[in-house]
Symmetry: C2
Subunit: 300 residues, 2 copies
DNA sequence: TGGTAGGATAATATATTACTTATCATACAA
DNA sequence: TTGTATGATAAGTAATATATTATCCTACCA
């Protein structure tokens, strides 16, 4: 025989009222039901919890001690229930988002907007490159990730939500800056600045090149979009970058797009999570927010 | 549907091992039994507690929170059980003893001896007169009381354990100090110093007098045995007192016993508690100790 | 590309719970 | 002394809890 929560609940009521009948009323039970619950609890702990002296009921020392524990346990259950209810709502809890570094250029904006709508949600943003993001996805760290091409090895649910055009960019004074409809081949003797291996942009670029049977004469590898943009600006070479990362530089005239045939490389951004993942309502809501935002963008 | 302790226990095991099968082994159950318990808990809180990503299992945020509560609740139950076990032993807990002031002359000795045998027991001794002791008995304050004649109005279990002879005492230079087999009548014109109403000694004396159809010429009422003894010593009058209270004074020759017919008034000390009272093992043990001590005294 | 390990699900048996109503016992008060 | 309030106890019952075995599903690994 063992203790049940019901027993504690009934006991607690009796201990409070010091009356079986009152407790029965409070719990909407008959008095014998209450007597039995208390009796069973007494049996399972092996000590009387109450003593009846004349008409009055008193808690024994054991009853006194048990009451304390019963109250604490009850309180924990109540708090747990409340916390669970909060988790069910969209307006609470934690939301952990992993993004590929390129996404960062607009992820911050997305998160800010979402955070404004759901101020109580604690948001964590983790920015890394594609490869380490995939590792984190593997160990179930982020609730959701924003990335380019979803992996096909791993089992993920991915939904695309926005265009991610990749551009071939150069310094404004590049010799081909003004040319139209360049063949990729005409860039054969240029130096290409490329992202580190494991980067999604790098992968996309490599596929683009191999599609056109193209192999640049020389490449320089650099880690991070910012570093590469600076290198391009000072004339180190060309690069393939996501339009989102160079938006500012293009409009400021510090970089130019080369009008190469096959560009912009049309790709999409994806919001993804491992299949089997149980999205919290908050995560679900953020996912929807991202999808809606994507639709709004392409419509406007 | 509602949460059960079993559910929390099984959940806790799964949350610890992050494996249903391991948990099943630990709990000596089959794996489906574990799945069901967790599922039921999930249903009753309305949130998934685990998520399965590929082959691995992870706690959801809800699972993380619930685990904390489950552990705390489990801990409380464990502590409660341990405390109950301690209460079952004789060597722990509190023991509240109420004694009538006259008893105090040997109660201290009894308690000291008992305390030496059970050093962890927390003893509380409350010394008052008979009347207020009865009140305390009524409100169930002391575990046990030591007193003279048990009340017949109140429903108590009383067991006598020791002689309580009442003596008629006087100052050593009293005119009848040396007389033998005095008739009570011969003390008719003496002054009697009597205890306050509500005192057991007072009641016993009054009964003694009425049994012999005796009415002293004058009485002086005083509160407390000590005060009365001093009054007798200085020759204020005579008194009826329990032999236990005047032991020291008699042997020191500061008081003498008058050899009156009908004295010593034979009475007994009682250890008592309200019937219906659930004596703790400690209280039960003290009661037995008192009874044994009484037997030892009368035998020796 | 099977094989395997781990989990979900279904069907089912059994034990226990959580109640009920009816009745009895008793302390106290009128 | 009787009536009333309170609890204990007994018997019966419907619900449920807890487990089982059997089977299926699937991710992963060799």
């Amino acid at each position: 025989m063992h203790i049940t929560i019901r027993q504690l609940q009934v006991f607690e009521s009796v201990a409070r009222h010091l009356s079986y009948t009152r407790a029965a009323e409070e719990l909407h039970l008959t008095q014998p039901a209450v007597s039995m619950q208390v009796k069973q609890l007494e049996e399972s702990i092996g000590l009387p919890l109450f003593e009846q002296i004349g008409k009055k009921i008193y808690r024994t020392e054991a009853g006194e001690i048990m009451l304390g524990h019963a109250l604490t346990i009850h309180e924990h259950l109540t708090i747990a229930k409340r916390e669970m209810d909060e988790l069910k709502g969209v307006d609470s809890g934690r939301l952990s988002i992993g993004v590929v570094s390129t996404v960062n250029y607009f992820a911050a904006r997305l998160l800010a907007a979402f955070s404004r709508q759901h101020p109580k949600v604690e948001i964590r943003l983790d920015v890394t490159n594609r490869e380490s993001l995939l590792q984190k996805l593997e160990i179930n760290e982020p609730d959701l990730v924003l990335m380019g091409q979803p992996p096909n090895g791993l089992d993920v649910d991915a939904a695309d939500f926005m265009d991610n055009p990749l551009l071939l960019v150069a310094a404004p004074d590049h010799r081909l800056a003004k040319s139209k409809r360049l063949a990729l081949e005409s860039l054969a003797d240029e130096t290409f600045v490329v992202r580190e291996p494991g980067s999604g942009t790098r992968l996309a670029m490599e596929r683009f090149f191999s599609d056109y049977d193209f192999k640049p004469q020389s490449t320089v590898e650099m880690t991070g979009n910012e570093v590469i943009k600076q290198a391009i600006e000072v004339g180190l070479g060309l690069s393939v970058l996501s339009a989102h990362t160079v938006e500012l530089e293009l409009s400021a005239g510090r970089l130019v797009r080369l009008d190469v045939v096959g560009t912009p490389i049309i790709r999409r951004w994806y919001v993804a999570h491992r299949s089997g993942k149980r999205l919290t309502p908050t995560a679900q809501s953020f996912k929807q927010f991202v999808l809606d935002e994507g639709k709004r963008q392409s419509a406007g």
